[in-house]
Symmetry: C2
Subunit: 154 residues, 2 copies
Amino acid sequence: MSFFSRKMDYALLVLSHLHNNPDGSSAREISSKFSISRPFLANIMKILCHNGYLSSHRGVHGGYALIRKPENISLSDIMDSLDETFHLTDCSKESEKQTCKARTFCPIRTGMSGVHDRIRTILKDVTLAEILDPVKTGNSLQFGLELVSHGSIK
Amino acid sequence: MSFFSRKMDYALLVLSHLHNNPDGSSAREISSKFSISRPFLANIMKILCHNGYLSSHRGVHGGYALIRKPENISLSDIMDSLDETFHLTDCSKESEKQTCKARTFCPIRTGMSGVHDRIRTILKDVTLAEILDPVKTGNSLQFGLELVSHGSIK
DNA sequence: TTGAAATGGTACAATTTCGGTCCTATTATT
DNA sequence: AATAATAGGACCGAAATTGTACCATTTCAA
């Protein structure tokens, strides 16, 4: 399985596309451009709109437009909006009936929490702007270059 | 969903427990100590053994023992052994029929790759030793402290 | 020598999550 | 009036995760 769900991928695509099309676009247009299921994409756009990322306009020439600045949207924000808040383990979910019977003497709980925070820090730091233009942002410069030489995604 | 599967959690528990019990232990013992399904845990221990982390000994007083040093076991290693190699997106899986039809013009591929590498770096850097004793290792010191003050896992 | 306790291997079943569909209502444009 | 779009749901099938079962083999001890 992948760390990012398809919902998350598509949300990023939507936000990206709308950033490049300031006049807005429709679910039909985006689904066709990226060969994605239209109803599925529509669901995601509804969510993004509901969470304040997009403005919506009904009717024949309706559609969505991006209303939040990419610099102010973190990966963590988006995941939260999609109801996919990051958790390293079940244990790190705060609410929920904690079924783990070893909490009081769990030998890895503290150590795992450090890892949790390190990954969460990345997700909070990386913004949509950085995803869209990785070279311009200082934070990701090294990694953007590393990508090219390593070619971890081909 | 959690980033780490239950398999991964249990594997860490096993490795941790065996580190604290250098003379070895059995699946029965560990499953009972942590209130975990014995057959399920047994399956995981088989895998860990098969991948060279543990030595096994059959028979009445048999069991498993840790044979690799915690400092030489990264989270990434364990995930790979469990057949759960980290991928940020489907796109970052190299083999597999790449079904994404937007590869050539995907606006987020490069940016995502940077994030992929940053998380992968953490998973490769963090060792079992660090999980077991987060304060002693320099790398995680800051995060170990952050944990206490933030209390992200309660 | 027999039985119990352990691993080895593998197949199978239950459950949950994910990815996606469908339907109806509402709004806006032409 | 027709069409194209969003709004808000319920719903479903497939796949992954999680857990079980079974049987064989090894080892030790009574």
